[in-house]
Amino acid sequence: MKLRQGQFSFLPDLTDDDIRVQAQYAIDKGWAVSVEYTDDPHPRNTYWEMWGHPMFDNPDAAAVVYEVNECRKEHGGKYIRVIAFDASPGWESVRMGFIVNRPATEPGFRVVRQEGEGRIIRYTVESYAVREPEGARYA
């Protein structure tokens, strides 16, 4: 399966230049761009690992592409995303988020059904990858 999270997961994988263009859009809006990675892509896994702090005062998206590639060197077998954070009043949250790196194979998720009374089913969505301990998932 292909993980469909983020703004551009239905488009062909982004090139470094695509990443630069999108990151520059965020920077020009005054948003802080950061790079995060994970080996647990569960839809509700909010806190991916931070590849450094958000780049608050960085004016040039080339630096974002540089950090993405540095992150790939160490975590190229995992999911990596770029997010943009907007600190303006009334928002103070994420404005953009898109995946820039995927593991070679994406095992996806299974649905676990716990059958209860009255036909009620409690659902759990579980990432196949997390059957292995952290660090031993994917490659």
Partner: protein, 488 residues
């Protein structure tokens, strides 16, 4: 009628002697009045009967929507009646519409119970719309003072937290209403939900009149829909939702359905506008207490919002609903099959999504409105839209909106999943192009064609619907051109 005849009678003996007196003379017309920051202000479009003076008509509206009755009553004198009288303070002819006037009326804050849309509306639109001296009356806009706004909960979740819960940023959300809206069994209904969500939509939606009918009872629908939601979530790795319509005949039944939706793990429930303002506020409170996004379908609104001369403008309904506390509300598409010109629709969207609305007569917004950090509502664009209009939709409606392609998903020649995928690819390609600095308004069709090269379902969608548009004159356009000559 001479000018003098509209002056308030100040001699108490004359003012309160039994009998009938003009509303203007009773004190409901105060041309020198300066509205206080804490006043509620209403702007009415009034069409007086032939021979009725516009100022007297405005004073009558002020009177009938506050303290007055048809005759003088001595019991007024037991109250601080000057405070409780609403005051018409300005009457302007409507540009280009002979016989119609804009009447500005100010109400003291103490006339209203905090946190109650029912109380606010019982005054403002209670009796006065049937008043005989008027041919027609329309509530065009309201200025709600911060002091009053702060007495309401506001949207249970709001745009920002909704996005955080859905883990979805930087693009409009995508939805579809399940069709046919009546007749599908629970099992068949869930199939549509599954295919559409798996294909790339974020949400599917019950229609306004899908409640609990012989062909599909509500529990069956909820159970099959949640199976579909969870399967689709696993297939895509995304948070998915389906608006489970909990509209029912009693509050007790609505709470029971909402609780069941919660127990199944749904992120969102839905209600219809026809359940009434108090029921909406109760469900908004329930939604806040239970971490639930609350979708409101504006079923029935066109019966009073559509005609320009009589009723209540949708911009006023939008303000009431932001106070009442819903998270999603339909607000028009501009390009689709339902009413809404671009300028008026922009006014609605601004009311939903902005911290502050400055006066914008060209968008039908007559007052500065502060929202005092009340959450923002997510507008929903639904009705006759398709992937080929993506550049227009993104330009007109922006990013914080749910684009709902019902027919435009389910009617795809190669099935529901293909339809959903076409919409998602078109959307992502258009957002990508906009962010990259391209002129999507003029290059939109090229952008879609390019995206369709690597997405056959999009190519098929563009081919099927390329000539579909709904180009009719709007019945409710703003009265003022973009450069208004009327001062504030």
């Amino acid at each position: 009628m001479n000018e003098m005849s509209n002056q308030t009678v100040t001699d108490a003996k004359k003012r309160y002697s039994a009998g009938v007196m003009k509303y203007a003379q009773m004190g409901y017309w105060e041309p020198d009045y300066e509205p206080k920051e804490t006043d509620v202000i209403a702007l009415f479009r009034i069409t007086p009967q032939d021979g009725v003076d516009a100022v007297e008509a405005a004073a009558a509206v002020a009177g009938e929507s506050s303290t007055a009755t048809w005759t003088v009553v001595w019991t007024d004198r037991l109250t601080a009646c000057e405070k409780y009288r609403a005051k018409a303070y300005r009457v302007d002819p409507v540009p280009g519409s002979e016989g119609e006037f804009f009447a500005y009326i100010a109400y003291d804050l103490d006339l209203f119970e905090g946190g109650s849309i029912a109380n606010l509306t019982a005054s403002i639109i209670g009796n006065v719309f049937g008043f005989k001296p008027l041919k027609a009356l329309r509530l065009e806009d309201m200025r709600l003072p911060v002091a009053y706004v702060k007495t309401f909960q506001g949207p249970a979740t709001g745009i920002v937290v909704e996005r955080e819960r859905l883990n979805c940023y930087g693009r409009p959300l995508l939805g579809a209403t399940v069709k046919p809206k009546l007749g599908l069994s629970g099992r068949n209904y869930g199939r549509v939900v599954y295919e559409a969500l798996k294909g790339g939509l974020d949400f599917t939606k019950d229609d306004e009149n899908i409640n609990s009918q012989p062909f599909m009872h509500w529990r069956d629908r909820f159970l099959y829909c949640m199976e579909a939601v969870n399967r689709a979530s696993a297939a895509t790795g995304e948070v998915k939702g389906t608006y489970l319509n909990v509209t029912a005949g009693t509050m007790e039944e609505m709470y029971a359905r909402a609780e069941f939706a919660k127990s199944l793990g749904s992120v969102i429930v839905m209600i219809d506008l026809v359940i009434g303002y108090t029921a909406i506020q109760s469900m908004a409170k329930w939604a806040r207490d239970n971490d639930m996004i609350l979708h409101l379908h504006r079923a029935g609104h066109s019966t009073y919002t559509r005609q320009r001369s009589h009723g209540v403008s949708f911009r006023v309904i939008a303000k009431w609903m932001r106070l009442a506390g819903v998270d999603h509300l339909h607000a028009g598409t501009v390009v689709g099959k339902l009413e809404g010109d671009p300028a008026t629709t922009k006014g609605y969207y601004d009311i939903f999504r902005e911290e502050r609305n400055p006066m914008a007569l060209q968008n039908g917004i007559f007052f500065d409105q502060e929202w005092a950090s009340l959450n923002k509502m997510m507008p929903v664009a639904s009705g006759g839209i398709h992937a080929g209009q993506m550049h227009q939709l993104l330009t007109y409606l922006g990013e914080d909106v749910v684009l709902q392609f019902g027919g435009g998903t389910i009617g795809h020649p190669h099935g529901i999943e293909a339809g959903a995928q076409a919409n998602r690819v078109a959307l992502e390609a258009m957002v990508f192009a906009r962010n990259a600095g391209r002129d999507i308004w003029n290059e939109g069709e090229d952008i879609l064609r390019d995206a369709a090269r690597s997405c056959t379902p999009l190519k098929q969608a563009l081919d099927v619907w390329k000539d579909v548009s709904f180009d009719y004159a709007s019945t409710d356009a703003p009265d003022f051109a973009p450069t208004p000559e009327v001062s504030a």
